[in-house]
C-alpha cells in the first residue's frame, strides 16, 4: 500500500519532525514497504474480537488527590536547555 509524498509530509507535521526533501522520499518508500507488510492483518476476520490495550488487566488503581512536592527543584531546572530564573524559556509561541 503506497502512501503519497503529501501524506508523509502531513504525518511529519503531526509528529513535529522537520523533514528534508531527500529524507521524505526515502521515508515514503520505507513506510510503504512496512505498511504493505502489516496489511496482512486484513486477512483475519476480527469483527467479533475485543481489542487488547493491556495484556495483564489490573484495573485502574486510585490514590488520594494530594500534592506531593518533588524535593529537588534545582535538579529539575538544571536540565533546561534555556532557563530564565525559575522558568523554561522558549521561542515565541504566537507566530505572525
Amino acid at each position: 500500500m503506497a502512501i503519497t509524498r503529501e501524506e508523509v509530509l502531513h504525518v511529519a507535521r503531526l509528529a513535529r519532525l522537520s523533514l528534508p526533501e531527500a529524507e521524505a522520499e526515502r521515508l515514503r518508500e520505507q513506510l510503504s514497504a512496512i505498511l504493505d507488510y502489516v496489511k496482512q492483518l486484513d486477512r483475519l476476520d476480527t469483527r467479533d474480537v475485543v481489542p487488547t490495550s493491556h495484556a495483564i488487566e489490573t484495573g485502574t488503581p486510585f490514590r488520594d488527590d494530594v500534592v506531593r512536592p518533588f524535593g529537588d527543584r534545582e535538579a529539575l531546572l538544571a536540565n533546561a536547555p534555556d532557563r530564565l530564573n525559575d522558568c523554561f524559556r522558549v521561542p515565541r509561541i504566537i507566530e505572525d
Partner: protein
C-alpha cells in the same frame, strides 16, 4: 574457585566472597573497572563508565561491612544498568542524542532496588536508541560489538548489557524487553536473559518506549544469578500503575527444582519458518533432549496466529512510541535546536536533529497508524489481533507448562548486514515478539554454539507470573548443557 579470575565468578559467587570477606568490594570493583578499561574500547558495551562513583560505593560497602552491616544480597558486587534506567545525578541517555546531556533528578525503581540490594553500579550500558532495534547499531553513541566475535552485533536493544555480562565487565545487568530486547541479545551473547511478566517489575523511571509492552529484567551468566536478580528487582511499586501487587516467590529455589513430569510444549509454528537456521534448530533440540532426559514430557501445541505477531507488534509498538516520545520537545530537558524563530519550528527541528533514523521511522509509522481515518484500520485492527495472539497462548498453556522455542532465528549477524532493510532487521525478533504481546514471561538460556563458535539460546515461555517454571526448566537445561560462560576476549 580459588584459581578462577575474580571477574569470572558468578554474581552469587562474588556476593558470597564479599560476604565471607574473602575479597573486599574495593578489590572486586577495581577488577571489574580494570577489565572495562582494558576491553570496552573494543566492545563498547558502556555509554558511561562510572569509576569514581563505583569506587566510592565500593568503599562505603567495605566500611559498612567492617561495622557489621550488609546492605543486601549483592553487597559490594558490580551490577550494570542499561542506560534506559534513570540514575539520579548520572547522565541517562537512552542511546539518543536528544537525551545526550540529561541528568535525571531521581532514580528509577529498578535503580533503587539494585542499589538497596548493595550492588555497585560500574556504569550505564549501551543500547539501541530508545530501545528501538535488534543490534545496538541505532545507538547515537555507536554500535556495541559481540564479545564472541567483534565483527558481529550483540543483538539488541539491550546489546550493551548482554555484551558487558558476556565479557565479564559486570557480574550481571538489568535490561528492558519490549519485543525481545533482553532475550535476543542474551541469546546472541551466550548469557541468560529474562523478560518478566508485564507488571512484575516496576517501570517507574524506566524511559518509556511502548508502555503496554515494556518490561525490565535481568541479564546474567547463570540461571541462578538471573533468578536472584529478578528476586531483587521484582515487586509492587505504587508509582507504576500497571505494576501488579502479588508476592515475589523464591526464584532461586525454583532454579533447583526437578523437571520430572513438566509438560514442555513445542509450538509447531516456531519450527516451520524458512528463516530458522539448521544450527539453531539442532541446538534447541539438544535443550529439549536435556529436558526429556530429566523426565519432562513433550507435547505438541499450536499458536496459529504466530505469523501475524510481527505485523501486530509493528503497529502497536510504534503507535505507543509516537505518543511516549512526544515529550521530547526541547523545552524542559535534552537537546534543543538553535536559532528557531517560533515554538513549532524549534520543536520540529529539535526532534529532527535529536532522533536517529529508526526512531523517526517508528514515530512516523505510529503517528500514521493513529491518525484520523487510519486508526481503526491499523491500530484498532492490531489491538484485536493482539487478543487472538493472547488467546493462542491461553490455549497452549492448557496442554503445556512451558513452551520451548528458539530465541532468535540465527546466531549473531555481522555489523551493517541488516541496517539497510528495516523489515529484515525486524525478523530477528520473530520468536520473541508474541510473548510481549501476550504479557507472559520468557527466558533465553544458552544451549550451544554454532560451527563458527557463536552462542545460541533457547527460549522458554510460561503463563503469566509463573517465572518459577521458567527458572526450573532453564536450570535443567543449564545443568545438562554446561557452556562456557565468559567470552574469550583478551585485554
Amino acid at each position: 574457585m580459588a584459581n578462577v579470575p575474580v571477574h569470572e565468578w558468578t554474581l552469587l559467587e562474588a556476593a558470597r566472597m564479599v560476604r565471607e570477606k574473602k575479597i573486599s568490594s574495593r578489590e572486586l570493583t577495581g577488577a571489574i573497572l580494570a577489565r572495562i578499561e582494558a576491553l570496552d574500547p573494543k566492545v563498547h558495551a558502556y555509554i558511561t563508565v562510572l569509576p569514581e562513583i563505583a569506587a566510592a560505593q565500593a568503599a562505603a560497602c567495605d566500611e559498612e561491612q567492617a561495622k557489621g552491616t550488609l546492605r543486601g544480597p549483592f553487597h559490594g558486587v558490580p551490577v550494570g544498568l542499561k542506560d534506559i534506567f534513570c540514575t539520579r545525578g548520572v547522565r541517562t541517555t537512552c542511546g539518543s542524542r536528544i537525551l545526550h546531556d540529561f541528568i535525571p533528578p531521581y532514580d528509577a525503581c529498578v535503580t533503587e532496588k539494585v542499589l538497596a540490594a548493595g550492588a555497585v553500579v560500574p556504569g550505564k550500558h549501551n543500547m539501541d536508541e530508545f530501545a528501538m532495534g535488534s543490534s545496538t547499531e541505532t545507538s547515537f553513541f555507536g554500535a556495541t560489538r559481540n564479545p564472541w566475535d567483534l565483527s558481529r552485533i550483540p543483538g539488541g536493544s539491550s546489546g550493551g548489557t548482554a555484551a558487558a555480562v558476556a565479557a565479564a565487565m559486570c557480574f550481571a545487568g538489568v535490561g528492558t524487553d519490549t519485543g525481545g530486547s533482553i532475550r535476543q541479545p542474551a541469546s546472541l551473547c551466550g548469557v541468560v536473559g529474562v523478560k518478566p511478566t508485564y507488571g512484575r517489575v516496576s517501570r517507574y523511571g524506566m524511559i518509556a518506549f511502548a508502555s503496554s509492552l515494556d518490561q525490565g529484567g535481568p541479564i546474567a551468566r547463570t540461571v541462578a544469578d538471573a533468578a536472584a536478580l529478578l528476586g531483587v528487582i521484582a515487586g509492587y511499586d505504587r508509582r507504576d500503575s500497571t505494576c501488579v501487587d502479588i508476592p515475589v516467590p523464591d526464584y532461586l529455589a525454583a532454579a533447583e527444582r526437578p523437571v520430572k513430569g513438566l509438560r514442555v510444549g513445542l509450538p509447531k509454528e516456531y519450527y516451520e519458518g524458512e528463516g530458522l537456521s539448521p544450527e539453531v534448530r539442532a541446538a534447541v533440540e539438544k535443550a529439549l533432549k536435556a529436558l526429556t532426559d530429566q523426565g519432562a514430557v513433550v507435547v505438541e501445541v499450536s499458536l496459529p496466529h504466530t505469523s501475524f505477531a510481527l505485523s501486530t507488534y509493528y503497529l502497536i509498538a510504534p503507535a505507543e512510541a509516537s505518543s511516549n516520545l512526544a515529550r521530547y520537545d526541547g523545552v524542559r530537558y535534552g537537546h534543543r535546536a538553535e536559532g528557531a524563530s517560533g515554538l513549532i519550528e524549534m520543536m520540529s527541528r529539535t526532534r529532527a536533529e535529536g532522533f536517529g533514523d529508526e526512531v523517526k521511522r517508528r514515530i512516523m509509522i505510529g503517528t500514521y497508524a493513529l491518525s484520523a481515518g487510519y486508526y481503526d484500520a491499523f491500530y484498532g485492527k492490531a489491538q484485536k489481533v493482539r487478543t487472538l495472539i493472547r488467546g493462542d497462548f491461553t490455549k497452549a498453556f492448557e496442554a503445556a507448562d512451558v513452551l520451548l522455542t528458539p530465541t532468535a532465528p540465527t546466531p549473531a549477524f555481522r555489523l551493517g548486514e541488516k541496517t539497510g532493510d528495516p523489515l529484515t532487521m525486524y525478523l530477528s525478533d520473530i520468536y520473541t515478539i508474541p510473548c510481549n504481546l501476550a504479557g507472559i514471561p520468557g527466558i533465553s538460556v544458552p544451549c550451544g554454539f554454532s560451527s563458527e563458535g557463536l552462542p545460541i539460546g533457547a527460549q522458554l515461555l510460561s503463563k503469566s507470573f509463573r517465572e518459577e517454571t521458567l527458572f526450573t526448566a532453564a536450570g535443567a537445561i543449564e545443568r545438562a548443557l554446561p557452556v562456557r560462560r565468559v567470552a574469550p576476549l583478551e585485554g
